[in-house]
Subunit: 161 residues, 2 copies
DNA sequence: CGCTGATCGTTAGCATGCTAGTGAAATCCC
DNA sequence: GGGATTTCACTAGCATGCTAACGATCAGCG
């Protein structure tokens, strides 16, 4: 009986999935607000952070890194091109590929955006003890590993299984 | 080799926002898959769980409970009506209100859907120690409290501020 | 009684994710 | 060399969230 205690409760308010939904909504909204002040929307961080690390990546490359679908990156990249954060040029050696490159604006957003995200993370966990914060990170990583395993359709086609 | 481990990382893979994004995506996808087997999509749980608790609620009532916008509930309710899970009738006493009521199918989904969500939560946290699981719940609740405070525009219009 | 303002649902349009299907280009392999 | 396969990006269409603007209805108050 660790959790549910009420009489006719049908939905435990501390149900894990519910908690995650709410945290994600709050964190996502806060991140979007904070990042928007620097001309970047929250979903664009998927692409920007990879291009900051190394410029000229392809949509498929970025999608694979985050385990996200290619259309997600393609559509986000189109919005970012319209917003002047990146450019999209065909690869000269392989016409199937598209190279995403940072503009000056895209490069300039790096420091403030990363700072805003870091500050938000600190702010959100300000009331957690050091132990809780450490366990939170561990728990999240464990859940990701756990769900990435059987769920992941073809992550790392290692010969053996 | 849990995840990435490079030198000039610009984006810490253990960055809190990133971890939450990934957990949310994995958990949401798994929940949607599990619930879809019973004819319910993951977002519809917002409405269903409230109607299971008490039938005949209004969209605004449900939106307020979850701190979610009214259009979110309205649009989800329209899809649920099309799917045969609920009906929508105007309130006889107040023509502005819409009463959402469960159909037999909506009522029948209760047990299997709740079981599926519970099993998923257990599965996802199976590799966590009891301590980690306890701290996870605490940490999530604390983050929700923290972000709901100043962020919440008008939660509880107490006279004083 | 009737005007004004508050309340409630709806519509329109956007961002972020997804799957399925298309088409072009590169690669494999006979 | 040339047809079949694989690999890309892209498009179309959906679900889930949002804000802004609209319209209808109810409640207050003169």
């Amino acid at each position: 009986m660790q959790t549910v205690t009420l009489g006719g409760m049908t939905e435990d308010p501390t149900e894990l999935l519910t908690l995650f939904t709410r945290v994600h909504k709050l964190l996502g909204a806060a991140a979007d607000t904070a990042m928007s002040e620097h001309g970047v929307r929250v979903g664009q961080n998927l692409i920007l952070s990879r291009l900051w690390e190394r410029d000229g990546r392809t949509p498929g490359e970025i999608a694979a890194h985050w385990q996200v679908s290619t259309p997600t990156i393609v559509n986000t990249a189109r919005r970012m091109e319209a917003a002047g954060l990146i450019t999209r040029e065909p690869d000269p050696d392989d016409a199937r590929l598209v190279r995403l490159r940072l503009t000056d604006a895209g490069r300039a957003a790096r420091v403030p955006v990363q700072a805003a995200r870091r500050e938000l993370a600190e702010h959100a966990t300000a009331t957690l003890t050091a132990t809780e914060r450490r366990h939170l990170r561990t728990a999240l990583a464990k859940i990701i590993d756990r769900l990435s395993d059987e769920d992941g359709p073809d992550r790392r086609p290692t010969t053996t299984r």
